[in-house]
Symmetry: C2
Subunit: 290 residues, 2 copies
């Protein structure tokens, strides 16, 4: 069983929130995540949340206001850090590279490749730690995230569709290959050859249409987001979905910006989006078993 | 009109949140507060929130999850900083004195008295800035807070009952005169003479019973709060209320601690408690005018 260390525990709404540290083989060091577990027996469906640039496990946990609705819907919610941390881990003085900016890729370039294996961390080590230590149902996982983490949610769900049953995002980087943030990070982590970048572009994956594992993808985007035209470019997702026929519910919201004030305003809808789909799976599995 | 400077604006739920800086004569310098204003015409009732030790205007604003319900109920919510700040303001290296620890008193002792006039700030300068610049109804003000701010809410509402129509608290310091935090702060700010302290003890004011302006006082307290026995002592409020006949709804909650995870879990009840009372006043005023 992957061992974990509980750093903090807090009762919140109808459940318990914990901050957890554990060793990850993928990133060759310790990682932290928060986990909300509702009261009751379980096993519960799990929503994994991937955060944006500069975030730790704390930002979503403290600011998103997710646990009221998660408690009502009986959903575990897990929010990992956005990269490995510490003196042994390479870093960059800029906010968009290195610690706090893992971009949810497996790096192939020095000095990053020894620790920046965030795709494998999220899709393997994190899931293993959660499912071995908490009442999480392995058959019912959803994935969401914000900004860089919205890019992470879309690309990891599409590349690992056997692992996740629902996916959504807030203000995602639609195409990391064309976003200044993404170009900088992918060049550093994967090198200059763009063929290695394509599997980390949400719009490219949706347009390819080889995976249609998801009946719908919910995306919320604020129209007053200062990064919408330069870094996020949500219309790329609309074009990609139209190309492949993927159903995509992209909602624009007047006046909302890129902050967690935007995220908290619509988090209940995302909790419901995932809980509805993951609950149906429970019914389906129960039906097949009977 | 008291001038204000808007530092940040964010749309959140059905309204707008702003961080504001303004000059306060009481504290002889700038102060900051956050304010949530729901959509619509107003004038709206206003809930003032007083935060605890070490807090700025950010803690409640980012972590309490209050704006969903405030938006639904049409309530303005104002959260000021807990003291004046800056190089010109006296401070103490401890977390429970000086900047971030104003205790909502008007200091009479050097070096504090020039700036630490938080009672006058909250009850005069803050109200004036809010009501001159936002669609706030002067007839409908509520007051709440957490820990040191719960002490502030209770003592300021009882000492200025003509200003506030509803009061509640989370995990308040029930009697600052007997709490180690309070004894340290009151000694520094008011001097060693305990007669000057009595008007800053919530339990003493409730027991005196000279003011029964409030039909009820709602107080929530976590049973897993590490400060409950040493610093907060909520049973002093129950004894005081029994002495004077003040109605007090003190609710204990198993498992909850002193953090904003506790506050967010019950903030909707406090929003409703204040909105219910302040809405009734509107009907009453309208009825009298008609």
């Amino acid at each position: 069983m992957p061992e974990i260390e509980i750093l903090e525990r807090h009762r919140v709404f109808g459940g318990e929130l914990a901050f957890v540290r554990h060793d990850s083989a993928a990133v060759a060091g310790p990682m932290t995540f928060s986990i909300f577990v509702p009261d009751g027996e379980g096993p519960f469906p799990v929503l994994y949340w991937l955060s944006g640039l500069t975030c730790s496990a704390n930002n979503f946990t403290e600011k998103a206001g997710a646990y009221r609705r998660a408690s009502q819907r009986g959903l575990i919610v897990v929010a990992p850090d956005t990269s490995p941390r510490g003196a042994a881990v390479p870093d960059d003085p800029a906010a968009d590279l290195g610690q706090g900016a893992g971009f949810y890729v497996d790096a192939t370039q020095a000095p990053w490749k020894a620790h920046f294996q965030m795709e494998t961390y999220v899709t393997h080590d994190l899931i293993a730690a959660v499912e071995a230590n908490f009442p999480a149902d392995p058959g019912r996982r959803g994935l969401s995230g914000h900004s860089m983490g919205g890019h992470g949610a879309l690309t990891l769900a599409l590349n690992h569709a056997h692992l996740y049953r629902s996916v959504s995002a807030f203000a995602p980087i639609a195409c990391a290959m064309r976003s200044p943030w993404g170009i900088k990070a992918l060049t550093a982590y994967l090198g200059a050859d763009h063929t290695a970048w394509e599997r980390y572009s949400a719009a490219t994956l949706i347009a390819a249409g080889t995976v249609k594992a998801f009946d719908d993808i919910l995306i919320d985007q604020g129209r007053a987001d200062p990064y919408i035209a330069s870094h996020l470019v949500p219309e790329q997702l609309e074009h990609a979905a139209a190309t492949s026929g993927q159903t995509l519910s992209l909602r624009y919201h007047d006046g909302f910006d890129h902050s967690y004030y935007f995220v908290q305003s619509f988090i209940d809808d995302h909790i419901d989006f995932h809980a509805d789909r993951l609950a149906q799976l429970k019914d389906h599995v129960a039906h097949v078993a009977a």
